[in-house]
Symmetry: C2
Subunit: 351 residues, 2 copies
DNA sequence: TTTTTTTACGCAATCGTTCCCGGCAACGAT
DNA sequence: ATCGTTGCCGGGAACGATTGCGTAAAAAAA
C-alpha cells in the first residue's frame, strides 16, 4: 500500500512551468510575476499540495524533529513534562519523538542510537536510573548535538539543564515531618548515582542535622529502579521494619517510591500516619483521594517541559556554537495532607 | 549548530571507490569482491557510519514512522496502550510519533494534517470526544493511508479496529451492583457520539432490563469531555443529587469520569459505598489505594496497543490493497473492591 | 590465439526540493 | 544603434542513498 502525494513536478507539468519557477512561486519569491504566482498558488491549493518534509529535511540537513527520552511515559511527572515539551514544540513546527528507557541503560543507549540515526535536531532527556557511563552523551554533545537535560541531569556535561530545587523540596518535606513531631525519619531514595537522588538525600540530611537529629544510615534505603519494581520497595520496607528502632515517618524521593511505599505499608497493616507517616515526591493527581490523603512534594512538571523545549530551541536555532549554558531551577510545592498529620483524627474498625 | 554526519561519499573518497561500490559493499552484494567488502565494512565501522534515514525515506517513499493520536498521554489507559504500540513498533524498526487531541476536534485535525505532512506510513487513533465529522479520515483512508482505530472507533470507515467488549464490561459492572443489592443505579457516560459511550451505555441498560429494573433517563448523565473537565462531572453529580430519588450507585464509563466522580462525591461528604456505591472503567494502578478502594473495569490496554500495531504493520507491509478487515475484541476484567460492597465494614469517626 | 563468460566496479538516474547561474526579452538612457 | 538594467523564467547541480546498465579486465572456454 502506498500513499501517493502530489509534488512540485505535478504542478510544473500541469502549468507548463519549470520546477524552479513553481518552487519560487510557492515561496513567494520576488523573481516571479504576480500572475504566475497566483496561477501556481491557486493550482497548488486546488490539488492540495504539501511540500514533502522528507525532501526538505534532506536538503536542509535538519529534520525538524526532536527526541525525548524518559524512563517511562506512564508516570505522571513525565507525561506532564512531555505535555509541556510538546506544546512548545508544536508551536514551533517541531515534531516530538518520545521513547522510554524503562530505567535500563541498554535500552537508553538503543533509543539514543535510534533517535540519532533518525537524525533528530536535538535531544531532551532525563537519564535512566541505571546509567553510570555518560560517554555516549559526551560524544554526541561534542559532535554538536544540541542536548537539554531535565530532571535527572548529568553534571559532567556542559549544556542547558532544567531541574527543580530538589534539595529544598526534600528539606521542606523532612522539616515538615520534624515540625509535626516525628523524630525517627527514614527515607526511600532513588538509585544513588542519580543527581536527583543525591540532592534530595542531601536535603533530607540537612533538615535532620539542622534540627539536631542524628543521621542514621540504616534509615536510608536505595531503590535502584526508582520504585518501578515492587520488589525493591518491599525489601526496603521490610528492612526498615526489622530495625530495633523502627522509623516513625518516611520521606519517599520519587513518584513510584511514594505510591508503592504506601502500597507496601497498607499490605502490612501499618497505619499511616499513626504508625508511620509518609510524605513523598509525586505528581499524580490522585494523591488527595488516597487512603490516607498523601502529603506530597509536587514538581512543576509541565513548566519544566516548556522551559526545556525553549532552551533546546535556543541551541538548535543558534547560528554559532553556544558556549554559555544555564541551569534553570524551578521550585517545588509541598502539599500537606493527612499522611503526615500527627494528631490525626483516628479511625477505628467497628462491626 | 549542526550535527555533521558521515556519508557514503566520505567512505568512497577515502577508499578511492565509487559510491555505488560502497553502497553495494555495505549491503553485502554479490557483485563486490570479498576484499573490497572487508575494506569498506571495516572503514565504515571505524568512522561510525550510519545510513541517513531521511535519504532512504526519500528514495523508498516511506518514512518508517507511524502516527498515534490519543486524547491525552497522561491517562493511564492511553499511556499503557502507547507502551504496547511502541514495543511492537520498536521491534520492527518503526518510529512512533505521538500526539494528543485533548478531546478537541480542531486539535485532532491539526495533528492529523501535521502527521500526514510528515509522511507517516500509517496511523493508529482513538478519536476525540468532540469528533463528529469523519470526512478527513475517510479521505485519508481512500487515498491509501493505512489506519487502525482502537478504543474509540469509527463505524463508518472500513479498516482494522481494536476494542474491548465494552458492552460486556458495563453489563458486568452494572450486574455486579444489582447483585449487591443496589437498585437505583445511575451512570456517567462519555460524549454520546463515541462508540465506546454507546456500547457501555447499552451494556448498562441491558443489565438493568435483564433484572427488571426500570431505565430512568434522568439517571444517565453525559460528560462531553470524558471527565477531563472537573466542571462537567460536578454538574452531572449535582444533577443526580438533586433528584427526588437519588441514585444509590454509579457506573462511570471512563477513567477520568471514575476518579473525578469519586473526587466530587468526597467533596460533598457523600460516603462511598454507604451512601452511593461506585464502579467505573479505569486503568490507573492506584485505584486499590484509594479511599475507598475502587471497584473497576480494567481494559487490557498494553495488549490493545500491541494488537493495533501488529494490525497496522499488516496494512503497511501488504503488497496489494487490503480489503478484508477485522475487528479484534478483547475482554475487560472486573476488579471488585470496597467501593461497591453493600455490607461493607463501616468506619466511624471517633475523637 | 580468439572468443566467450565471469568478476568487479563505475556512471548516471532517481526520490522532491531549493538555489545558483545563466539567458532572453523589453525598456530607458546614451 | 548600442549599452546597461530590470523583470521573469529555465537548466541543472545538490542533499544521501540505491540500482539498472554498461564495461574493463581477468578467467575460462573454444
Amino acid at each position: 500500500m502506498k500513499f501517493e502525494a502530489v509534488t512540485i513536478k505535478d504542478i510544473a507539468k500541469a502549468l507548463g512551468l519549470s520546477t524552479s519557477t513553481v518552487s519560487r512561486a510557492l515561496r513567494d519569491s520576488y523573481e516571479i510575476s504576480p500572475e504566475t504566482k497566483k496561477l501556481v498558488l491557486e493550482y497548488a491549493e486546488k490539488i492540495n499540495y504539501h511540500p514533502n518534509p522528507i525532501a526538505l529535511s534532506l536538503k536542509e540537513r535538519r529534520s525538524r524533529s526532536i527526541g525525548v527520552i524518559v524512563s517511562e511515559i506512564a508516570n505522571s511527572f513525565f507525561s506532564q513534562s512531555i505535555n509541556g515539551i510538546e506544546s512548545i514544540a508544536y508551536n514551533n513546527g517541531y515534531n516530538v519523538i518520545i521513547s522510554q528507557s524503562r530505567e535500563s541503560y541498554s535500552r537508553e543507549l538503543l533509543n539514543l542510537q535510534y533517535l540519532t540515526s533518525r537524525s533528530i535536531d536535538g535531544l531532551i532527556i532525563s537519564v535512566s536510573a541505571e546509567t553510570k557511563d555518560f560517554s555516549y552523551f559526551k560524544e554526541l554533545h561534542e559532535r554538536g548535538m544540541p542536548i537539554v537535560f531535565f530532571d535527572r541531569i548529568v553534571d559532567e556535561i556542559e549544556t542547558h539543564k532544567v531541574i527543580v530545587d530538589n534539595y529544598k523540596g526534600a528539606y521542606d518535606a523532612t522539616l515538615h515531618l520534624i515540625t509535626n513531631g516525628y523524630k525517627h525519619i527514614a527515607t526511600l531514595s532513588n538509585a544513588a548515582v542519580l543527581s536527583i537522588a543525591k540532592e534530595r538525600l542531601a536535603g533530607y540530611k540537612a533538615a535532620l542535622a539542622d534540627n539536631e537529629l542524628a543521621i542514621d544510615e540504616s534509615l536510608i534505603k536505595y531503590c535502584s529502579h526508582g520504585g518501578m519494581l515492587l520488589d525493591e520497595v518491599e525489601t526496603a520496607i521490610n528492612e526498615l521494619l526489622e530495625l530495633k528502632k523502627k522509623p516513625d515517618a518516611i520521606v519517599a524521593a520519587a513518584d513510584k517510591l511514594t505510591t508503592n511505599c504506601l502500597r507496601m505499608l497498607k499490605a502490612r497493616g501499618i497505619k499511616v500516619p499513626e504508625d508511620i507517616a509518609l510524605v513523598g515526591f509525586s505528581n499524580t493527581d490522585l494523591t488527595e483521594l488516597l487512603d490516607p490523603p498523601l502529603s506530597v512534594i509536587r514538581q512543576p512538571a509541565f513548566e519544566m517541559g516548556e522551559v526545556s523545549m525553549n532552551l533546546l530551541l535556543q541551541l538548535i536555532e543558534s547560528k554559532r556554537p553556544v558556549t554559555e549554558f544555564e541551569t534553570r531551577v524551578l521550585t517545588t510545592e509541598l502539599l500537606v495532607r493527612g499522611s503526615t498529620k500527627k494528631g490525626r483524627t483516628k479511625t477505628k474498625e467497628i462491626a
